[in-house]
């Protein structure tokens, strides 16, 4: 096992542009996001880097307030500039610089080359328009289709996300759809322009597990057909296990562990990940005692010099409180930001 620590080590920095011949679709390098309040700037996301390749799924996982959604909103330019300050070494989507000031590149790709699905399909759809009108609008605006072609395209899309009787349902309003069916409409909207990247922020959190399983099966199938890259934001490690090729665990605005999905569950290398796995109740585990992580996530104002997890970490040493550990390669493709990694039960006695 080799441990190399380099200050610039990061998810994206692991292997330049291409792994296995696939180009990066999206690459964020050193993304920092600050919220400008009347008390001064608060850092919500610091120095986060990630990259997604075509046809692959990257999951950002973490608890509320860890910065997973804010990172993505920042990349998409969805945070109002008056309240937020976004800095990064680079944010590139298919070679385009998304941080460029006038936002022209962003407008060109958002909704067209990048599709988005949000948690609550009822509030993301316009209740006063039929679902067909809403999808057709996207086809006409982005692809310049005429009315008739847009309607035909809309029906084909609804069919593609397996909405039964698509040709009839195209004229229904959102309220006439169940939660799962509404989320299918959202997926149809996001896929309307054959995006290179699909961003899904907690897409199934509001849905029953049986419906959730269906939506994920659909997303995987569509991904296979189209080669779309998927950036999946979730708090649920079970969802990560099912969907992701790679996973980045976030804590208090930083990526603390990044690895191929299987490795994360087989051999977690950051104490926070170990804690999260122990705190997730599973119905067939033998132990009836969960291992909660004591304390709570620090507020942005409480963040100090060292590792942000140190106050809750049972493995902390003096160095953890003084100096923040960088994300460093631990084993093969696995990276962790922890002075004590690689974790071994013996060394922690």
């Amino acid at each position: 096992m080799t441990v190399t620590r380099s200050p610039t080590s990061s998810v994206a920095g692991r292997d330049g542009a291409a792994v296995a011949g696939r180009p990066d679709v999206l690459r964020a390098d050193g993304l920092t996001v600050e919220f400008l309040s009347h008390r001064g700037p608060a850092t919500i996301v610091s120095d986060v880097s990630f990259a997604i390749r075509a046809g692959e799924t990257l999951s950002l996982v973490g608890e509320s307030g860890c910065g997973k959604s804010v990172s993505v909103m920042a990349v998409l330019g969805l945070l109002p500039r008056r309240q937020w300050r976004i800095t990064a070494r680079a944010v590139r989507f298919e070679g385009l610089d998304l941080l460029e000031r006038d936002g022209r590149n962003l407008r060109a790709v958002r909704g067209k080359r990048i599709g988005m699905i949000f948690q609550e399909p009822m509030t993301s759809l316009n209740p006063t328009m039929t679902v067909g009108e809403q999808i057709a609008e996207v086809l006409r605006y982005h692809l310049g289709l005429d009315r008739r072609a847009a309607r035909a395209g809309t029906i084909a899309l609804l069919d593609r996300v397996r909405i039964p009787r698509a040709a009839e349902r195209v004229d229904d309003y959102p309220f006439a759809f169940s939660g799962g069916m509404r989320q299918r409409v959202m997926i149809a909207l996001a896929l309307a322009c054959s995006p290179a990247l699909l961003i899904a922020d907690e897409p199934t959190t509001a849905l029953d597990v049986t419906v959730q399983a269906e939506i994920f099966a659909l997303l995987r199938e569509l991904q296979r057909e189209t080669g779309t890259a998927l950036l999946l934001i979730t708090h649920d490690l079970g969802v990560v296990a099912e969907m992701a090729d790679e996973v980045a665990v976030m804590y208090a605005g930083r990526i603390v562990e990044h690895s191929p999905t299987a490795a994360l569950f087989v051999a977690p290398q950051h104490p926070y990940t170990v804690g999260l796995l122990g705190a997730s109740p599973e119905w067939d585990s033998r132990s009836h005692r969960l291992t909660p992580i004591e304390g709570r996530v620090p507020l942005p104002a409480e963040i100090m010099a060292g590792c942000r997890f140190a106050p809750r970490c049972p493995f902390r040493i003096a160095r953890c409180e003084a100096e923040a550990p960088p994300l460093a390669v631990i084993d093969g493709a696995q990276e962790a930001a922890c002075w004590r990694a690689p974790l071994s039960p013996e060394a922690l006695q």
């Binding site: 099966a217 122990g278 109740p281 969960l290 909660p292 049972p314």
Partner: protein, 356 residues
Amino acid sequence: MSAAMPLLVVRDLGKTFVRRSGLPGFRRVSRVEAVRGVSFQVEAGETLGLVGESGSGKSTTARLLLRLIDPTSGEVLLNGQDLAALSAGALRARRGGMQMIFQDPFASLNPRLSVGYQLAEPLVVHGLASRAEARVRVAGLLERVGLNPAHARSYPHQFSGGQRQRIAIARALAIEPDLIVADEAVSALDVSVRAQILNLLADIRREQKLSMVFISHDLGVVWHVVDRVAVMYRGRIVEMGPVKAVFEAPRHPYTRELLKAMPVARPGGRRPSTAPAPGDEAAAGRGCSFAARCPLVEPGCREREPDLVPVGPGRTSACIRAGDVPVFSLGEGMIPPASRERLRRLQDRFLAGRAA
């Protein structure tokens, strides 16, 4: 099994919501049978889980238990007394025996009252303590749920979600109820905090011999909390029994589909589902309401709705093919033994390090 009456007896509980819509002369009346023929018992010190998807009638059942809404049929006996037969005043007095914890601790605490006031209020209302005594009891309650007694002077907005849920638990415990009804009490919490609250509930239950009806859609959580579980589908209980037995060898196909659909935090994730999703099934006429989604369906299923009948020690199922439901197991093969051992020992160290 004691010869004494169980703490809570629910018999043939039903609730039909009637909705009137349309203009005068064109009225339409639609009826929704949210809960039908629900019967169960909870012994003193026991926790019963109610699981099912949204719309299965879990929350309606909770509200019927506390008589926050009136049942259309059936009865709820707490300590042998029928709550439905009580007058409003007598009901208010009896409700002290039962308390509820809700899902959203942001909505269930009054933002304009201090935490101390909100915890003291039930004590004073139920005549259990004077104002001065209440203050002492409140300090004890806050410590009991892992908060600092000094927090009594703070307001709900000053607390995190997990802390608010602790306050809601303290409030439910304040008047020493016999039974707590927890409706999705940990669903809004983050994983690490959820484990804290689940362990707190487990400790309280053990130490105070409290009974609980624990409602959740999360089978993993239910596995860790309850003694017995009742699985609800479309307003009815379709399977009930000890949680270990029910989850390890379900006797109703719906229970098995629910278990299969749970996301699992290990390589590979959940098993692919075979059953068609809910939503487009036609409103069930005669027969089993699960027939449209059931992988084991046979012609007999569509003839009449099966009754909930005994299928084993302490177990009941409403399925005519109860004996044919295959065992469902996640297996352990996906994580190599050496890695599993390392993970287990790391988690032991994690717990030990925390205690130190």
